[in-house]
Symmetry: C2
Subunit: 267 residues, 2 copies
Amino acid sequence: MSAPEAKRQRTQPPYELLYHPGIPGRGEYIRLVLEAAGTPYSEPAREKGKAGYDAVLATCSPTSTGDADGNPPVFAPPALRVPGAGKDGRALVISQTPNILQYLAPKVGLAPADEADALHANQIVLTALDLSNETHDSHHPIAVSLYYEDQKDAAKQRAKDFRENRIPKFFSYFERSLKGNEESGGGKYLVGDKLSHADTTFWQVIDGLLFAFPKELEARKGEFPLIFGKFYPGIKEEKGLKEYLASDRRLKYSQGLYRHYPELDRE
Amino acid sequence: MSAPEAKRQRTQPPYELLYHPGIPGRGEYIRLVLEAAGTPYSEPAREKGKAGYDAVLATCSPTSTGDADGNPPVFAPPALRVPGAGKDGRALVISQTPNILQYLAPKVGLAPADEADALHANQIVLTALDLSNETHDSHHPIAVSLYYEDQKDAAKQRAKDFRENRIPKFFSYFERSLKGNEESGGGKYLVGDKLSHADTTFWQVIDGLLFAFPKELEARKGEFPLIFGKFYPGIKEEKGLKEYLASDRRLKYSQGLYRHYPELDRE
């Protein structure tokens, strides 16, 4: 262990990401922030088997009114547990992906220092997560409680609108955000002149969409020169992220938030 | 003007809510925070006619790369403009409903002071806004670009799942959050012992659902005694809110986020 690494492990609280095992999902937005910052964290559901995942599920049990540390119930994973950071030195448990990102980013050195920049980073995170949710709904437009196969016709209609109207609308917004910040960010950063949680979050959405809708994105690359020419390839080379993306800690897409159904993609 | 009111008007920056005129929509979540706090604000689209609404639309123009004050483009209203609060004393413009609420709440005295409580309030706000989004999608499951009439069959399927699975899942979460905080909040407040933006936001979602799905909510009232016995009736009596809800500033529901289609409600 190098000296700076040893120091970070002593001074950072032991962050615990509470999420499903085996899928990148919404947990990935949080992993990318921690990995980009080089911050140690654990994932009980991946490291401690059934007992670890049971602890995750207990936070969002349909009968929970909160935990013994005074934290309210969680609606759905991901949640973040931080021993010692809650009331009276107890564990803090927080949920909702944007809430977790906004809490973590300044603590691990990934949030812009300027207040206006931090607010703008958060607004971009929320917009990227809206696109993430719409991606999910493109294969589940009727109900999360039904199989894809039972809502396939509606999914085809929704995916068509998603590809033709929503992807270009969202990507135009991100392209213009990069353009407006080009003097500072060089097309590589959405806010300011260094990596923030806005970048890692939008990057993950692009990466998921490249898996889910490869033909659609290939056809549209030319419309968004900063996103595909500078941002997407640039962020994946960032320190911390590059090593992580090449490691076996990075989970493969499968049947989660980002799914590849060829019949939903462009023909 | 009373002395405290005069003082507040001198010390509060002139908040400008940039939103569509004529509908409560997502702007209402922000109005409720400002009204509950007794904070003055203006709405250009409601007060300055076409020129006012044009200024709102300019922030989210599909060709904007940001404004002259250094703010990035807005994806969609609502946005909040705060003269003097941006970089170098220029105007700050921020968007995304939860971002605006989280910015405003501590500034107008509506956010919990304790860090853990503030994070929990924000997680509840985000979950209430997820329910708000799912309500919208119950009448527009295929595409926002299509009329309701053109996606009516899919809407019937989605609304059925929304009523049978999603409303009870979300309401159970809020009921349990109220229960876990009952010692402090008495069933009336979601976090701590006084009104926060978590309360105003969830209250507005219930109120919108009572308009959109009156039969479904009537049938379920008994399942959620704190929500319907303490919280919903209690919050509407809060200082600031009571006066606002009785005033003509409170806009009527119509064809926005919350819509009443009898065929989507419980039979």
